[in-house]
Amino acid sequence: MIRRTLVVAGLVLLGIVLLGPELAPHSATAPVAPPYSPPGTGGIFGTDHLGRDVLSRVLHGGRPLLLTSLVSAFAGAGLGAAIGLVTALARRRWVEPVLMRPLDTLAAVPPILVSLLVLTAVPNRAGLILAVAVASIPLSARVARAAAEQVRGRAHVEAAIARGERWTWLLGREVLPLVAGPLAADLGVRFVTAVYLVAAAGFLGLSTSDSDWGLLIVEALPGAALQPWALLVPVAGIAILAVAANRTAERLT
């Protein structure tokens, strides 16, 4: 019963986020009222520092945020997990150092520098996705390898090897289902980190879109005392998304 309501609420939320740009009463960029108008006088949640409708900006920004974060979380955690699994299952001894040492080195470069570099080379949303993905690959790979190593020596994996299963089956059907728990948890954390890195990139002047929620937070911060809603609404949005994403990830395992 409660579960059903939760699922429905989640779907409604997803719908709002994805259809947001169509639902928004105003454009994301046009001023509609004096800056920092409180809720009521200028839209449900008031207006931001340029007099733009907070509700409309939140509605416009949800889709880019969700897609950016999801894509980069999947790319980062997915690639990381793939590398980790391959390393754990590889038969050749050189695979481990060849794949993992460079990743460890990459892990040692502060993510902020990685983001700066990638965004310099690719100064758009794709760059942001790449930056977040690159920043999460090393840790995801470690998590995946550690999890897969527990499973690698199990008799059913050896049986599958002995009957000549392809590596896709070995990874996808023998090992993955057993490490899906930690990987899903990792994916959930990656998603939140992605949202957060996107926001942080905005904080450092590296934002890549008009109105994704990270940018809204960054923009609303100086005027938070004047118009708290402009800050609280996107923060709440991100929090809800994060919780929902993690619940989903846990469900899937």
């Binding site: 960029t29 800056p35 920092y36 340029l50 934002s207 100086p222 005392a225």
Partner: protein
């Protein structure tokens, strides 16, 4: 969330006079580890404030007028190619020794040496290597181009005097002639300065001045709100709008003559802004009042597209009235409808990126598609990038016209190529006759107002947050870097 402003900003430096004694703690935007006690090494606001009380210039500005500092007079030769500098007598360094012409000659060499992190731009005008000491209080200074009013240049460009032979500027070794001497310093954190009782301009009121360095605007405000400091320079408009609910504190403005110009410079070398009609159309199309109300939250006034409001010679023309029909017509005539233009901007002042976004919205109405190109402050002035953009956001304090137009003429992408402007500018710099200079500056600004490439949509108040008892804060150069040599507690 419903905090009504406790009070509108008050003007000035505090109601009462500063009394002698006490410790004044003031916080300014810092430059982190890059800060320095060397007046030619640090480039952040707190560096300027600190340098101003530790070191003196030969001349300073006071209400846009040049007043004598360590020098009493700079007398140009008739052709303007050199000047004679007469120094003040009886000035002492913090270490007790006497200030002489040797110090000045050394300072000229020091400030322009290529290994300086921030060499003085005075080097473009003064031939520092050829400075000659006539006697302990007189020097002869050759110039690289004719200067009609050398004192103005000595006041407007950084030209702090350091002691002959000084190479090291640590808390123990930095020696100036200013109202305060340094007792402790850590870059990016704080400087502790003690009153210099032998100051030639009269001893400062406060016993000690503590300059605190922070980079986050809200953090600066918080120090005053929580009693960690007495004065925060250059605070965000939002803080003023929110107001402070503390009867001991007040928000101050530096006044009408000390505002910061907010605007854009259009690139006259690129389409569509190579066409004066399009430049004019932009100036006709922008909603100045909306920008002032939104970006400045009303703290300021509309601008008339000319830089240096508040400086001497500034032409206080009436801003162009908004006329969208006419603007659209001009754009159509120029065949620039639907043109895509990139405006490069960085948040080196709060509100720059926002003003560019708002500009983009406003210019939609006349068929120009503006793409804000938001970058970090460190890369903003990369020459190739500026030259490739159709415009940049731009800001300036009430600096002398010679400084501002001098800067603009040298920069690809910002310089405005116009014969009449060039001639008038040359005369304005070189003429030794005050009347001729005034005439020439008027002409420079006529050209700029008629067809120029600068847009100044607003003049922003410079706000600060202060304990009510803080008194005696004055402006010499720019209001963002006030002079604290006469400041103290009432």
């Amino acid at each position: 969330g419903t905090s009504a402003p406790a009070s509108a900003p008050v003007a000035g430096a505090g109601t009462s006079a500063a009394r002698r004694g006490g410790v004044l703690r003031a916080v300014f935007t810092g430059g982190g580890a890059g800060e320095s006690l060397d007046p030619y090494a640090g480039g952040s606001p707190i560096d300027f404030v600190r340098h101003d009380v530790l070191f003196d210039s030969l001349f300073t500005l006071d209400n846009a007028e040049v007043v004598p500092g360590l020098a009493l007079a700079a007398e140009p030769a008739p052709d303007g190619r050199s000047f004679v500098l007469r120094l003040r007598e009886g000035v002492r360094w913090h270490d007790g020794s006497t200030f002489t012409a040797q110090d000045v000659a050394y300072s000229f060499r020091y400030m322009n040496a290529p290994e300086r992190a921030y060499p003085s731009q005075l080097g473009s005008f003064v031939d520092s290597a050829a400075v000659r000491v006539r006697d302990p209080l007189t020097l002869e200074v050759p110039t690289k181009q004719a200067l009609g009013d050398p004192a103005l240049f000595l006041a407007a460009f950084p030209a702090k005097m350091v002691k002959d032979g000084a190479t090291s500027f640590t808390a123990a070794t930095a020696v100036g002639t200013g109202a305060y001497r340094v007792t402790a310093f850590e870059a990016g954190r704080e400087a502790r300065l003690a009153r210099f009782d032998g100051y030639w301009g009269g001893a400062a009121p406060a016993d000690e001045l503590v300059l605190l360095s922070l980079t986050d605007p809200q953090a600066k405000v918080n120090t005053v709100l929580t009693g960690q400091s007495d004065f925060a320079g250059d605070i965000p408009f939002t803080t003023a709008k929110t107001g402070v609910a503390n009867a001991d504190l007040e928000i101050r403005t530096a006044g009408e003559n000390n505002r910061t110009a907010f605007g854009f410079v259009l690139n006259p070398a690129l389409k569509p802004f190579d066409d004066p009609r399009v430049r004019k159309a932009v100036r006709l199309a922008i909603d100045r009042q909306a920008l002032v109300d939104t970006i400045l939250l009303g703290y300021g006034s509309v601008g008339n597209d000319l830089l240096c409001a508040g400086a001497k010679y500034f032409a206080a023309k009436e801003p162009l009235a908004r006329d969208l029909d006419k603007a659209r017509g001009l754009v159509r005539e120029a065949g620039a409808e639907g043109a895509e233009v990139t405006i490069r901007t960085a948040e080196y002042e709060i509100g720059y990126n926002a003003s560019t976004q708002l500009l983009a919205e406003q210019l939609k109405a006349i068929g120009l598609v503006v793409k804000p190109q938001i970058v970090g402050p460190a890369e903003f002035f990369r020459p190739e990038a500026v030259a490739a953009a159709h415009g940049v956001s731009f800001s300036s304090g009430a600096v002398p016209l010679a400084v501002m137009y001098g800067r603009l003429t040298g920069f690809p992408g910002l310089a405005f190529p116009d014969e009449r402007l060039k001639t008038a500018f040359g005369t304005a710099i070189a003429s030794t006759d005050e009347g001729v200079r005034a005439q020439a500056w008027a002409e420079v600004q006529d050209v700029m107002f008629d067809r120029g490439n600068t847009i100044v949509w607003g003049q922003a108040d410079v706000l600060s947050l202060a304990r009510k008892s803080v008194a005696g804060i004055t402006v010499r150069d720019q209001a963002k870097y006030p002079y604290l040599g006469k400041a103290g507690l009432a």
